[in-house]
Amino acid sequence: MHVPLNPSLAVDFCGLRLASPLVLLSGCVGFGEEYTRVEGFSNRDAGAIVLKGTTREPRLGNPAHRVYETPMGMLNAIGLQNPGADYVIDRILPTLDFTETAFFANVCGSTIEDYVEVTRRFDASPIDAIELNISCPNIKEGGVQFGNSPDMSARVVEACRRVTRKPLITKLSPNQTDIRENARRCIEAGSDALAVINTVMGMAIDVKTRKPVIGNIQGGLSGPAIKPIALLKVMQVAEVARPHNVPIIGQGGICGADDALEFIIAGATAVGVGTALFYEPHCCKRINDGIAAYLAANRMESVGELIGSLDAPKKSVQACAC
């Protein structure tokens, strides 16, 4: 019997029903309205939109240059330019249309108190979920300094957990020795979900001037160049997160439906799109269509059936690849 399938793209994420597994990533889509400038782009094509990293006080960010193309990717060192939590909550959130998609905050700080204070303010706002960015490589204090230590990560999560009942997502850095241990500690500390991965640290040099191209010297590498790294990290974190039913937003270099499917198969419930929007502002529609076509072709009714369906022999993963 062949019943034509019309698979659903909707996913359940920490009790939220996202219309699509696609999540537009923090720092790539401003504060939620920027890409609507583009005709044919709609916030409705994404299950959720993560707003730019927000700190307690406004930040001007890093000096130029802040972005630079590298082979199959790009470096960025924006330096968390943002107008501060109060402005975001009082002036920007009221202008967003929450019927179009879900909006997540992305919280960053230099101290644990900063994280707690910004989380507390967002808790009292209409935001749908709060992502703790303990993995920003582009600021001098805080950010990735918390994220690279499982102890510090857990302390940030624990402290923020106390001040919010909204879904709490912890965004993990790939720039650390054992992402599994960090993920485990964040889950124990009360994280409802994990975002894997933030950018990979890198740099570029202008050989004519012998100066670093990026004003901040180092930047975060994103785009297709980091996809294999991200995919492995998602698979590793999924092993830790699955027993706790903790969903993952897989991200890093996703440009097409096949990329998104790989992340879902590796264990991600939702998949992030950042740099690909810079290449092709309409990519969400294409990725959604591709996922739906794959589900239909494989006679699956929902994305849920595919999550973590990786068919890999157990215990075959060698730490050394040489």
Partner: protein, 320 residues
């Protein structure tokens, strides 16, 4: 950042809005993504190229000063921002002048006629010329020439209402991306040696003069900003009160332009360049410091808050 709306249209029981009212959403659907078709590609000395691309939506909505973000090569998928030099809304094409800097534009120069080039545009706030200052002084340096051509052409077509008197000054250290010839139009106040012009502008009846250290015939020997200062110095105070300056080019040239404008007390708008990723306001990759009306410093995005800014706001006296 977003323009904050005073209040949302409606708020649900969880305090979640349904977005700003329509009048605060005028930004929506203003930039188009099109599969442009390469109609022509003309090479000039110094690895300069003029290309024409069929991109009707971009052409129809463009204003002088706006730019397009082009995919030059699928192997290097980041787009490159390039100013619009001319557009024909009826015929649906845009024209761009570029000089190869690195692999992105090198790849663009290799595209065959008929090739598909993704065009994201038009982007950015353009120049605004004020009728009470009809003596418009346009200064273009190197690949900063294109927006000046666009502005000049638009002043020509707008001429009916205001008696615009544009003077376009162009500077280049390599050969100009057109065949310069002696101008048919007299411009009092510029040194006698400066007689070469851009033929296209001359044919439109718009005065232009060229400056270079390259020793090209008919060109003013020196910086284009020195040529501008010559002309401004020839005006009496009433005439100076009718001048408005517009500039696009390398940063040192823009800084010098800002100084000249201040020296003569003339308002000036400059078009900036910065490395870009999204070009629609999403990444803050292109932000530059801009002095606000109250003297405070804010980071503004060159792509959607600019690329045109008030010269004093981006090159304040103490910095430039």
């Amino acid at each position: 950042m977003n323009n904050p709306g005073p209040a949302a249209c409606s708020i649900d029981e969880k305090g979640r809005g349904r977005g700003a009212p329509p009048e605060r959403r005028v930004h929506r659907d203003t930039i188009f993504v099109e599969d442009g078709r390469l109609l022509s590609q003309q090479q000039y000395p110094g690895e300069q190229f003029v290309i024409r691309i069929q991109a009707p939506q971009c052409a129809a909505a463009a204003v002088p000063g706006s730019f397009a973000h082009l995919t030059c090569n699928p192997e290097r998928p980041m787009r490159r921002p390039l100013s619009l030099m001319r557009v024909d809304a009826k015929a649906g094409w845009i024209e761009i002048l570029y000089k190869i800097v690195g692999p992105g534009l090198a790849a663009l120069s290799q595209q065959p006629l008929g090739a598909t080039i993704s065009v994201l545009g038009p982007i950015g706030n353009g120049f605004s010329a004020h009728p009470e200052r009809p003596r418009t002084l346009l200064i273009g340096g190197g690949v900063g020439i294109p927006p000046m051509v666009f502005l000049a052409e638009s002043l020509k077509t707008r001429r009916a209402g205001t008696p615009w008197q544009p003077l376009v000054l162009m500077g280049s250290e390599i050969e100009f991306p057109f065949r310069a010839r002696p101008s048919q139009i007299l411009v009092p106040g510029v040194p006698n040696e400066a007689i070469a012009c851009m033929p296209l502008l001359d044919d439109w009846g718009i005065a232009s003069r060229l400056a270079s250290f390259g020793g090209f015939p008919g060109c003013f020997h020196g910086y284009v900003t020195d040529l501008a200062a010559h002309w401004l110095a020839s005006l009496d105070s009433q005439a100076l009160g009718e001048v408005e300056m517009f500039a696009c080019g390398p940063t040192p040239m823009l800084q010098a332009t800002a100084r000249v404008a201040r020296r003569f007390g003339v308002p000036c708008q400059v078009s900036l360049e910065e490395f870009m990723a999204c070009a629609v306001g999403g990444c803050a990759g292109c932000a530059v410091p801009v002095v606000q009306a109250d003297g405070s410093l804010a980071m503004k995005r060159v792509c959607v808050d600019g690329p045109v800014f008030d010269a004093n706001a981006v090159f304040p006296p103490q910095v430039s």
